[in-house]
Amino acid sequence: MIKAQTLQDLFKRYRRPGDLFYSIISIVFSLFLAFNLRSETTWVSNTKLFAQPAFWPYAAVGTMVLFSTLHLVSSLVSPKLEGRWQEVGFWLRSVEYAGWFMIYVIIVPQLGYLLTTVLFAVALCLRLGYRGAKFLGSAAVFAVAVVVIFKTLLQVKVPGGAIYELLPTALRSFFLTYF
């Protein structure tokens, strides 16, 4: 009992709900990497240890395993926090927006940067619960401004949309260059 209390004192730290879940994922991932180190790295003959291609992956994964283990121990000996699964649910809900982002990325080369950005901004605003013309209009204006600043003025590398092929020749090259 005394030992357990000392351990708790030593490892006690500020935590938020979901910490234990994170620490388990972290140690599992670290161990997975550790078990694969041998097959995923190369040891070259007649080369010093510090110049070995495998040295830094071993050092990095070793550090991960060590600290993840300590993190897990500290999570296990700390008092239980309520709301773990609600927190994990929050993390998973955020994946929806990663999906929105990837859809945006995939559509840009098809519909072109300008049209996709305007549609995406307005659609995402609707998804977020904004219904008023003020917000939807602001989103569309913002989308146009982003395209004009980055593509038209700064000429960042965003490819023209496949849809531009349907435009007359003069307009096509204009849209391909500026939007």
């Binding site: 993390w91 982002f101 977020l128």
Partner: protein, 506 residues
């Protein structure tokens, strides 16, 4: 002197002037909006600056870096929400002053203390330059390796209470750097996946961890919209009061410079040290936390002195001390301007140009703030979920314009979700970024250093290497000593301010 004039000449271009204005004014606005920090803005703008001249791109990024903390003080004082994480301490005394009806006085003191700290930091950087030019050439491979190692250790230990997580994440950062083909075309940790052969691009990771994670966080959380009251009266006349507290402001700026120079330590430690100093030396220590002007000044002067000081290890050794300078390092590399000992010998005019740009940005920002504070109070009323949509659309430009790669975007999204998890758990993101950058530096420098090392002690047979090695040992021993003391004193967890980590995650 010739280099100084040459530096001024470098800045006498319309595109540099424009970048300076956009960077400094944009930085204030970005800093003033809670939820968007300098890290998010710099991550998004980074790829766009690659097509610009190095001086133009860096001026813009430096403008954002140096001015965001000015803007961050505004919501910290008016609505008790720090605009950027480093303004967290400003809320302690700034908001109570607003509640007393002294919002104008608090803002004026915060702005003038920020200006004091900013200029103090730059002057230190300028006066230290000749010393740096003398010392920097003595940094060979082993010294740079040891300095990078010290940086990694410090960034882990600086996250009090989260050292285990920070250590694991630093290891993860180093691992990310190793993934892909090495210099001799050996596959490392690629799991026979072609998309991993090229390794992880720092900018993709940074954009995911800082920008996309912030967008996902704002989009997933409940909507909120702050409504600060407008400030009445002239800020300029109220600024004169700062002169009464010049001792605190100077000491706080000194702490900012010292802590900013040390990789991995940064604004938070500087703020806490200067705040503690100000309280200890104050005639009214009981007023701290209740609206003490000295507390507000200590916090703002310290954090604004850091950006200039953080440029010291970056420019002199090529070692970034925190995430923002790590991002700037990539701008240097893209333009083949290699920061490090040679920079002071071969491109001193470029270094002077950066110093002058930093002074100018402080002047522009303070003038802008005197006249536009009330306009900023309107801008910060943007609802948080709408802001999430804005960041998501801007992040696309950052990631996709790099290589037009869907895989890059998917990787950035993955890191975005990871960043969100870390932010929600109040765990630090910075160790991943520094692990990636410093891991790369350590690998290269250790390999070249070991060629001349026959015996382990040869590694530290030069004075600077020996000092760095002793420092590493001392830092670890002092950390263990502090832990033992705290353990003996049975400090309760509630007594430690964990919001300190929050600041690093935005």
């Amino acid at each position: 002197m010739e280099a100084l004039f040459s530096g001024v000449e470098l800045l006498m271009r319309w595109d540099v002037a424009l970048a300076l204005f956009i960077g400094s004014i944009g930085g204030v606005i970005i800093g003033a909006i809670p939820g968007v920090g300098a890290a998010v803005a710099i991550a998004i703008l980074l790829p766009a600056t690659f097509s610009l001249d190095p001086i133009v791109g860096l001026t813009m990024l430096l403008g954002i870096y140096g001015s965001s903390m000015y803007g961050g003080a505004l919501p910290a004082i008016l609505i008790n929400t720090p605009g950027t994480a480093v303004n967290a301490l400003t809320t302690y005394d700034g908001y109570p002053m607003t509640k007393r009806g002294e919002a104008r006085r608090a803002l004026a003191l915060a702005y003038s203390a920020s200006f004091w700290g900013g200029i103090f930091g730059i002057l230190c950087l300028i006066f230290l330059s000749p010393v740096l030019a003398l010392i920097a050439p003595h940094f060979g491979s082993r010294e740079i390796f040891l300095a990078a190692l010290l940086g990694i250790i410090l960034v882990v230990l600086a996250h009090r209470g989260q050292v285990f997580a920070a250590g694991g994440l630093a290891g993860f950062g180093i691992l990310l750097h190793t993934v892909g083909l090495d210099t001799k075309y050996n596959q490392r940790m690629t799991f026979e996946q072609t998309w991993l052969t090229g390794g992880f691009d720092l900018i993709v990771v940074v954009l995911g961890l800082f920008a996309l994670s912030q967008a996902f966080l704002l989009l997933t959380e409940k909507d909120s919209s702050p409504h600060p009251q407008p400030v009445e009266g002239s800020l300029f006349t109220a600024m004169k009061e700062m002169w009464l507290y010049k001792r605190v402001a100077t000491m706080a700026s000194g702490f900012g410079v010292l802590m900013g120079m040390i990789p991995g330590v940064g604004e938070f430690t500087a703020q806490f040290m200067s705040y503690t100093y100000a309280r200890r030396t104050s005639k009214t220590p009981e007023a701290f936390g209740e609206g003490a002007p000295e507390g507000l000044i200590a916090s703002e002067a310290a954090n604004n002195a850091v950006p200039a000081a953080a440029m010291i290890p970056l420019l002199a050794l090529g070692i970034p001390g925190e995430a923002l300078t790590a991002m700037m390092l990539s701008v240097f590399y893209v333009h083949n301007v290699i920061p490090g000992p040679q920079l002071f010998q071969t491109q001193l005019d470029f270094v002077y140009a950066l110093y002058i740009a930093m002074i100018l940005l402080n002047v522009i920002v303070i003038i802008f703030l005197i006249f536009s504070t009330n306009m900023l109070t309107k801008i910060i009323q943007v609802p948080t979920r709408f802001l999430g949509m804005v960041i998501l659309i801007l992040s696309f430009v950052g990631v996709y314009s790099l290589r037009n790669s869907v895989v890059d975007c998917a990787i950035a999204s993955g890191f975005g979700v990871l960043g969100l998890v870390l932010k929600r758990l109040n765990l630090p993101i910075v160790p991943i970024v520094l692990g990636m950058v410093l891991g790369g530096i350590m690998e290269v420098k250790l390999r070249s250093a070991m060629i001349r090392v026959k015996h382990p002690l040869d590694f530290v047979d030069r004075p600077i290497a020996a000092i760095l090695a002793v420092l590493i040992v001392l830092v670890i021993l002092m950390h263990i000593r502090t832990l033992r003391k705290e353990h003996k004193a049975r400090l309760s967890e509630a007594e430690i301010d964990h919001d300190i980590h929050d600041s690093q995650t935005r």
